[in-house]
Every structure is written in C-alpha cells, then in structure tokens.
Amino acid sequence: MLPVILKRLAATIPVLFVVAVVIFSVLRLTPGDPAAIVAGDGATVQQIEAIRHHMGLDRPIPVQFVTWISDVLRGDFGTSLISGLPVKDMIVDRMGPTIAITLYTVIYTLLISIPVGILAAWRRGKAIDRLVTAGSVLGFSVPVFITAYLLIFLFSMGLGWLPVQGYKPLSDGVWNHLRHLILPVASLSTIYIALMTRFVRTSIIDTLGEDYIRTAHAKGLNEREVLVRHALGNAAVPILTIIGITVTMLIGGVVVTESVFNIPGLGRLVVEAILAKDFTIIQALIVLFSVVDIFVNLVIDVLYRVVDPRIDS
C-alpha cells in the first residue's frame, strides 16, 4: 500500500503546480491593479507605486511567481495587507469553526443520504423513490443562503428554538457548541444530501443491472440479501468518487454558510478579505482549500483499492 500512496502523492505534484499557476495568473494577470485597489480611490500615483513596490508587484512576473511559490512551500503565506498579521496565524486562528462545520456536515450527509439513496433505489419507480428524486432536485436547486434564511425564519425567529447566528467552541459546553451549529450544518448539508442521495440511488440502480446480480437471484437470495450482500459493495466505488468530486462544492458552501450565520471561520475570513481587498489572504485561502481538495481525493484514491480488489496495488 505504501508504494501506491507514494506514487499517488507524486502524481499530485503536476496538479498542484497547475493549481499554483492558475491561482497566480488569476490574481496577477487579470485586468485590474491590486496596488491601486489597496491604495483606495484617493491615493496618489506615488502612493500606489510605493504599495506596488511593497507588494513586489513591480518585479517581473516569473520572479513574482517563483518568490510566491517558494514562500508558500516554506509555509509563509505572507502578511495580511490590512491587519499586518502573518496570514498563516490568521488561518490557524480561524480553522476551528470551519473544521467543525465541515466534519458535522459530512457525517450528517452520509448518515442520511446513504440509507435514503438505497431505499429509493430499492423501491425504484415507486412513490417513495419519486418523492426522494423530486426532493433531491429541490434540495440542490435552493441556494445555501436561501435554505439558511428559511431555517432561521422558522426555527430561530418563529419558534425561537435556536440562535440566529454566532459560534461557540466546544470548550463552552457541548450543547452550547452544537446548538449554534445545528442550523448552519442543516443548511449546508441540504445541497450535499440532495446530491449524494441522488448519486447513491443511481449507483445502486446501475449495480442492480449487472449480470452478477442476476447470478445472485439465481442462487435463491431474496431482494434484501441481493442488495446488501452484492449491490452495496459494488456501489462503493462510484459513491467514493462523488464524495471526492463534491469537496470543492462543500468548500464553496462553507464560505456562504459562515457568512450567513456570522461564524468566525475560514469562510468568513474570505468574505472579510473580499471586503477589505486583502489579496494575500484570498490567495492563501484558495491555495489552502485546493490542497485540501487534492488531499481528500488522494485519500479516496487509496480507499478505492480497499473496496475494489480489481484496482491493484
């Protein structure tokens, strides 16, 4: 297994390189002058020039790229243009809430979507399946922030059960912590559950059409045993695939959710950086999230080999 992991790790290098190039080009080569934006409307030409020099924007593009890459590789994401603090520290500071939301969302999503998807596939064409299918289209069509506001409207403003916004770390008490995260996780996972349920259903239905399922029926297994013993294991690979594909979507959702619920995580840091035009932070966060995505997919790639013996190690 270790050689496989090393090989896959090596294969991520070109992807990481492309990610770096794309992010760099988007931020440096798109029309618009970061220095001028940072300086603000009232700035003089000299002031803008000084900021440009300070940001290193006056050096040749390839030099800027190499400087940036080598800084990032050393874990140096630069200093925030606005706060003057090292970006790395700001990120570490804000990681807790984001990890909590993401983790709960993934767990909750899998707990709901796998059984429901299986149920729909098993009863395909029946009322329950049509309900699930319709529900899932609805689920991923409603934007996260709309779901969030609807939930706030109902549960916080209407029923008064849950806080409208804010975040409490685990150290403030488990219930207090969870209470503040119920609505954010519910909002964020709606889209994710909808997508996953739909995909689990499709994967199982695809699998149920395979020849070996017919063999299982010919053995005298009943429907439930066929599903549990033969369909599920084979549907695992496509289900893992979709988990990998949806990572970037989940990250986008976190940004929106944290913004709506005023949760001081990395997502809201993005929004703060947008408003403050703090490119160093935006740049660092994109890199960070892309690396997370690549890493998650690497783990999934290794998991494939666990669930499917055909993918040789």
Partner: protein
C-alpha cells in the same frame, strides 16, 4: 420519428410542463421588464423605506425605499445574461479543449492535467478572487463563473470522443480516406450534442446559482445593479425586520434554478436512455 416520440414523452409529464412554464415566465420577465415593473428599480425613495407589501409596492420596499417587486423583475435579466454567457463560454472552450484532448493523443495529458488543476480549485473561491482583483462587472462575473465550468465540459467531450474513436464506423472512415478534421466533425462530435444539451442546462442553473452567491457575498455584480443575489444581500441586514426582502427574491431564484434542473433531468432521460437516472 424516434425523436418525435421522445419529445412527446418529454412534454407529457406535468412537472416538466410546469418547469417549462416557469422558464417562459422568467424569460418574459426579462424581456418585458420595463413594462412589467411598476417602478424604476433603482429609484431611491427614502420616504417609503422598509415597508411591507402594499397596493403601491406589491412586495414592499427595501432599506433605500426601492420597489422590491420591480427589482425582482429586473433581476431576471442579470440571471439570464449570466446563465447564457457562462453557458456559451463553457461550451465553446470546453468543446475546443475536449476535442483537442480527445482527438490528438499528444495534447491529451497536458490538457487534462491543466483541467485537473482547475477543477481542484473551489469554483466559488476562484470566482471571488477574480472578481476581487478585476473589480465587479457583469463580464468579469461571467468569465469568473465560466472558467471552473470549462473542465467539466472538456472532460465530458473528451470522454465521449475517446469512447467513439474506436467505433468501427470511425475506423471505417479512416480507411476510406476521410480527413481527420472531417472524421471529427462528421463522425465524432455529433455524439456529444445530446450530452452537451443536458450538461448545458445544468451549467446554466449552476451559473444562476453562483452569480447569486457571489453577489450575496459582495463579490459579484456591482451592488447598484438589481440582481437577485444583490437584492438578497441588501435585504439580509433587515431580514429579522422584514423577511420578505430575502425570502421573495430567494423563492424566485430557487424556483428558477429548480425548473432549469428539472428540464435538464427530463432532457437527459429523453435524449440518452443510457444516462437515465444518473446524477
């Protein structure tokens, strides 16, 4: 003949008909906005700030006293423009790169590595970054949303071309002396049309969604332009006071995305039975 019966079943289900009706409504809203609106969507009237629905203002007014109903009507224009713009860019470049990767083996791995890289970057963050640097404008938003969609189209087109390349009818064309370009255009690319129509509807829906998210986060369409995302962003501060400021445009936005997705699902089932039921 076959296509007609497919179109028949396509139109026969009532959810699809409702979805198509909603899409027609949104298009009508966009085209006839000046006639449908009761007020100038940008007209500030401090005298009627934050009012609930009334005879003069059917859905109430926002914190600047602008008419919410008229703003929602005009907002459809932005959504449709963004959707069409993103769709056009994603399809043109996706098909171009996909065709290059799927047909010329030498370019394949280079193009696909680049696409892998672009896909690894969270789409919304990439868009946020682009809009932040270039300044908010309609065209920047369209380009920023389109770029992450290009790899998806590229992968789709490439996958189809690779699977079709070994088809006997394509090989027969090779032995008949048909030129590579003619083989690509005549025998291979037509196979991508149906999947692209399906993928296209999903891209359109995604574009409408992401525009709203970007505007909501303050990294989208310039704030003075009435787009659904901007309307919701303006309203969020007063949500507890006047939930309609968020909920009305939110419902219109959600319904629009929902119906486009529904049409996409139906089109997929009708155009390609092999893909039926796929996510």
């Amino acid at each position: 003949m076959v296509a007609q019966t497919k179109l028949g079943t396509f139109l026969s289900s009532w959810p699809t008909r409702l979805a198509l009706l909603m899409i027609v409504i949104v298009i009508v809203m966009a085209v006839f906005a000046p006639w449908l609106a009761t007020h100038d969507p940008r007209f500030l009237d401090p005298a009627v700030r934050l009012r609930g629905p009334s005879a003069a203002h059917w859905l109430g007014t926002d914190s600047y006293g602008r008419d919410l109903y008229s703003r929602i009507i005009f907002g459809s224009r932005v959504s449709l423009l963004v959707g069409s713009g993103v769709l056009a860019i994603a399809i043109v470049f996706g098909v171009l790169f996909g065709a290059l990767a799927g047909y010329f083996r030498s370019l394949d791995s280079l193009i696909m590595r680049i696409m892998d890289g672009v896909m690894a970057i969270p789409a919304i963050l990439l868009a946020i970054a682009m809009v932040s640097v270039s300044g908010s404008s309609l065209s920047t938003v369209i380009v920023a949303i389109a770029i992450p969609e290009i790899p998806r189209v590229t992968r789709l087109v490439r996958g189809i071309l690779l699977s079709v390349r070994g088809e006997p009818y394509v090989e027969a064309a090779v032995t008949l002396g048909t030129s590579p370009a003619a083989i690509l255009v005549r025998h291979m690319l037509p196979n991508t049309v149906a999947p692209l129509i399906v993928q296209g509807t999903y891209i359109f829906a995604a574009a409408v969604l992401i525009e709203a998210i970007l505007s909501f986060l303050g990294a989208g369409i310039p704030p003075e332009v009435p787009s659904w995302g901007n309307i919701i962003a303006d309203g969020r501060t007063y949500f507890q006071l006047l939930p309609g400021l968020v909920l009305y445009p939110g419902i219109v936005l959600s319904l629009t995305i929902l119906t486009i997705n529904m049409v996409g699902d139906t089109a997929r089932d009708a155009l390609d039975p092999k893909l039926a039921g796929r996510a």
